[in-house]
């Protein structure tokens, strides 16, 4: 048996396809991206090494990058906080009702499996000046005319502009089901004995939520938060489809859309790679931070 499982030929045969593909399509390109980010590299030219100039440019001269960075960080914080709160509330409510639990759960989860490209277009129409929300507000008499309503996707005033708030809420709408399901899965794993013991000791439902449920699902909070953080940093589809290109002169850009425009609209491959590397570093940092601060020892349930 032992000899059989140490068969070198078999080991290589089993691991090789995945390992080769993974190295060739993921790790070598990451190294290449780091190299390109140190180069002046335009499409159809050879990359030329220029040191850290791309990064210096990104952080000092590029105004769109500053906006994109601000928006991305806002998205991340917004989605971490709201998904945590709403995900927990929904999970707590749904575990406490009996009738219709599955139905509600499935409804809230539905947008998670739909294409965010399609949903982005859908919500763009909902927030169009003459359609959707504004039309509804006009027919209810809240505003005189569709065109008088808020310019949901075109108002560029303020530090965090209105379109970014709108998109944040759409993202919350789409992905809160994911967090809810993660928390529900964890809550259903908690043994009923603990709750029964707490009720005998005179605990109210509210108390048992704060003193039993919350501490016991802490490891899942870390998992869900890292998923949200990385997901919101990578945010592309919704924003790309909700804000038509060129409408807001890049005021609603995030890091991912900035990378896309720089690399594939202006063919600045080296510069785009630098943005990509920054995104990678941000993702790694966030994963480490969240897992360090939130994850505690897991309890035996």
């Amino acid at each position: 048996m032992d000899k059989l499982m140490r068969n070198k030929k078999a080991i290589i045969l089993f691991i090789a396809p995945a390992l080769i593909l993974f190295t060739a399509v993921l790790f070598i390109p990451v190294c290449k991206a780091v190299y390109y980010s140190l180069c002046n590299y335009k499409i159809n030219y050879q990359p030329k090494y220029i040191g850290f100039k791309n990064y210096v440019m990104l952080f000092t001269k590029d105004k769109t990058m500053a906006i994109a960075f601000k928006n991305s960080i806002f998205f991340m914080i917004f989605s971490i906080v709201t998904q945590l709160i709403f995900g927990l509330i929904l999970a707590a409510l749904l575990t406490n009702i009996k009738k219709g639990r599955n139905l509600f759960k499935n409804i809230y989860y539905l947008p998670c499996v739909l294409s965010s490209a399609a949903l982005g277009l859908l919500w763009m129409f909902v927030f169009m000046p003459r359609l959707g929300i504004n039309q509804m507000m006009a027919s209810l008499g809240w505003i005189e005319d569709c065109t008088m309503g808020p310019e949901w996707l075109f108002n560029t005033d303020g530090f965090i502009i209105l379109p970014i708030w709108v998109i944040s809420f759409v993202a919350l709408w789409q992905y809160v089901g994911q967090s809810m399901m993660l928390y529900m899965a964890q809550i259903s794993g908690i043994s009923m004995d603990i709750y029964e013991a707490s009720y005998i000791d005179g605990c109210s439902k509210k108390q048992s939520f704060f003193y039993i449920t919350l501490p016991l699902i802490k490891p899942m909070v870390a998992t869900a938060m890292s998923l949200n953080a990385i997901g919101s940093l990578k945010f592309f589809d919704l924003i790309y489809n909700m804000i038509p290109e060129g409408f807001l002169s890049h005021k609603a850009d995030v890091i991912a859309t900035h990378l896309y425009t720089q690399a594939f609209k202006f063919s600045k491959l080296g510069y785009g790679s630098a943005i990509g590397v920054i995104l990678l570093i941000l993702c790694l940092i966030m994963t480490v931070i969240i897992n360090k601060f939130v994850k505690t020892e897991s309890y035996d349930m």
């Binding site: 089993f14 396809p17 995945a18 406490n96 399609a118």
Partner: protein, 285 residues
């Protein structure tokens, strides 16, 4: 007497709370369903009635919108392409992924832990970072504008989660099964196909669902690598067809519906399995 009164009071209070919870849940459900319903209704109208009475039901059902989106928006071809891409990705990533998972979970070699970490790091790398090097590389290999050119990165990005979940399933198989297979004279390859694979069916369902849903909806890679209408996948064709510059709203709504209907049908049919499967994957991830 006093005692029964407090009990009935408490009962009434908890009933009120339950009602409030249900009201909240129903309102939320409406927020989830109404936008999609709005698209369904509008996609069956024609443009002139849309502007006059946007919330009314359509008087004449206009199937023409769907026909137009299907042909002019290239959504028919796009759906076929998406299906080909996702199916091939699914099969290849499962074969490669389960093989690697078997090697990591069951075969005995020094670097197996290290190999696992190597794949796990891949989960944290955003696809955006490698988009540019891949784009350069693939255009040198003449892979841009081919379905292969997006299948390869899709497989690669499906591998880490597949391997991670399958390792969990393979490790859960009792060792006695492998030992008895060994005594019966099974080779290591037979152990993989006859013992390990049949016992990890749930794992295949979970990872298959995750990779299919993710790749079916993927936009960025497909948009960068493919510019030929005949090769576009569904999210790309949709994004290019629908836009503020296009004037017929109802046709665009029909296009959005075409893009999400297959997923909605699959979801309605298998909602519980899909939700459970995707959550199981995410929990382990």
């Amino acid at each position: 007497m006093n005692n029964t009164m407090t009990i009935s009071k408490e009962k009434r209070r908890s009933r009120i709370i339950t009602t409030l919870i249900y009201i909240f849940l129903v309102i939320l459900a409406i927020i989830y369903i109404v936008p999609i319903l709005w698209v369904v209704i509008t996609s069956l109208k024609n443009d002139s009635t849309l502007m006059l009475s946007p919330w009314a039901m359509p008087e004449h059902i206009e199937w023409g919108n769907y026909a137009f989106a299907w042909t002019k928006g290239h959504l028919g071809t796009a759906m076929l392409n998406s299906f080909i891409v996702c199916s091939i990705t699914l099969i290849v990533s499962m074969v490669f992924g389960s093989m690697a998972a078997f090697a990591i979970a069951r075969l005995r070699w020094k670097l197996s832990k290290l190999a696992m970490y190597y794949f796990l790091i891949g989960m944290m790398i955003p696809i955006h970072t490698i988009l540019i090097p891949l784009f350069v590389q693939f255009s040198q290999w003449h892979l841009s504008n081919t379905l292969t050119g997006i299948i390869v990165p899709y497989i690669t990005f499906s591998l880490p989660i597949t391997i991670y979940i399958m390792v969990g399933f393979f490790e859960g198989i009792p060792n006695e099964l492998f030992e008895s297979a060994c005594i019966d004279g099974c080779s290591v390859y037979k152990m993989f196909t006859m013992v390990a694979l049949p016992l990890a069916k749930t794992g295949f369902m979970v990872t298959g669902l995750m990779s299919f849903v993710a790749n079916w909806n993927e936009l960025l890679v497909a948009m960068v690598f493919i510019s030929n209408d005949a090769k576009k996948t569904l999210p790309v064709s949709l994004t290019k067809f629908v836009g503020p510059y296009h004037t017929n709203y109802c046709q665009m709504f029909a296009a959005i519906m075409i893009a999400i209907i297959p997923t909605i049908i699959a979801y309605v049919a298998f909602a519980n399995q899909i939700v459970e499967g995707l959550t199981a994957g995410a929990v382990k991830g």
